[in-house]
Symmetry: C2
Subunit: 142 residues, 2 copies
DNA sequence: ATGATGGTTTAGAATCATTCTTGGTTACAA
DNA sequence: TTGTAACCAAGAATGATTCTAAACCATCAT
């Protein structure tokens, strides 16, 4: 346990705001996730944590990651058809580049244009718009 | 069985090109999928086909959809975290709009800009670049 | 301290989508 | 016809994720 990074502190503050207790398990997940840019899966985070905290349950990792996502600490991504969910501690809007061959996932800041992604040879772009369809708008509600 | 649409014929021709037999099961899947813009799941396609072809197996639907994707007849999409794969018979490059509330998936032609998607209130955009990372490029190969 | 309360964790079972296996069937070639 | 390879049905197996039940633990009032 080294000195807490700014990201760790921000994540713990978000736990407070979401009225979630700062349990040892949750703090451990925050530490494992928050400075990791490799977009790890729940399994990978579990494997790491298990070493330091052998009683940690797999379900706790899943539950905690879901709680952290609701608290705005991370986002989950489903980037390939055969892969499990990946978790991204960068919550500011940005895009992703996925390598067809090794599966590596890179963060792509919004500022960059497609052609400018350094060192990545782009084969295709997929865009997903999230929002409300006409029917659901007309129904109204939250 | 009504008169075959242009899309059906194109799909069957693609089966030929891929050297896949035009079996009754595959033809049925092609008919069920090819003019459907609702982005159905394998389960939905299976449910429909089962009525006309009660011996159809679920695994056959999966295998056939995978074969059709390899043959370039459709594409599979994984658009939400809790949902199963959806199949899209439109293979020309285009994007998708996903309703947060009802899950409906709409096709968005590339020509349109984000703000121009008719009748859809956009909350967020996600972009995924597919290609090759630097490391895999330097390794070379196919 | 004691006990009640409610959120949390654990371990394992359950669920769900997807893939695999096995054995039988079909199409086509020799 | 016989052989061969592709194909299919049915159900088992796999793997990710979620659920359940019981135990745990902090907090608060007695």
């Amino acid at each position: 346990m080294r000195r807490p990074s700014a990201r760790v502190n921000a994540a713990l503050a978000a736990l407070d705001r979401a009225e979630l207790r700062k349990t040892p398990q949750r703090i451990a997940v925050v530490h494992a996730l928050v400075d990791d840019t490799s977009h790890p899966t729940a399994q990978q985070i579990f494997d790491r944590l298990r070493r330091q905290m052998p009683t940690m349950s797999f379900a706790t990792v899943y539950n905690t990651l879901a709680a952290l996502e609701r608290a705005g600490v991370c986002r989950s991504l489903r980037l390939s058809h055969d892969d499990s969910a990946r978790f991204d501690p960068m919550v500011e809007p940005h895009d992703h580049a996925v390598c067809d061959r090794c599966g590596r996932v890179l963060d792509v800041p919004r500022a960059r244009e497609r052609a400018e992604i350094q060192e990545f040879r782009v084969r295709a772009v997929e865009r997903v718009y999230r929002g409300e369809c006409q029917q659901c708008q007309s129904i109204g509600g939250s």
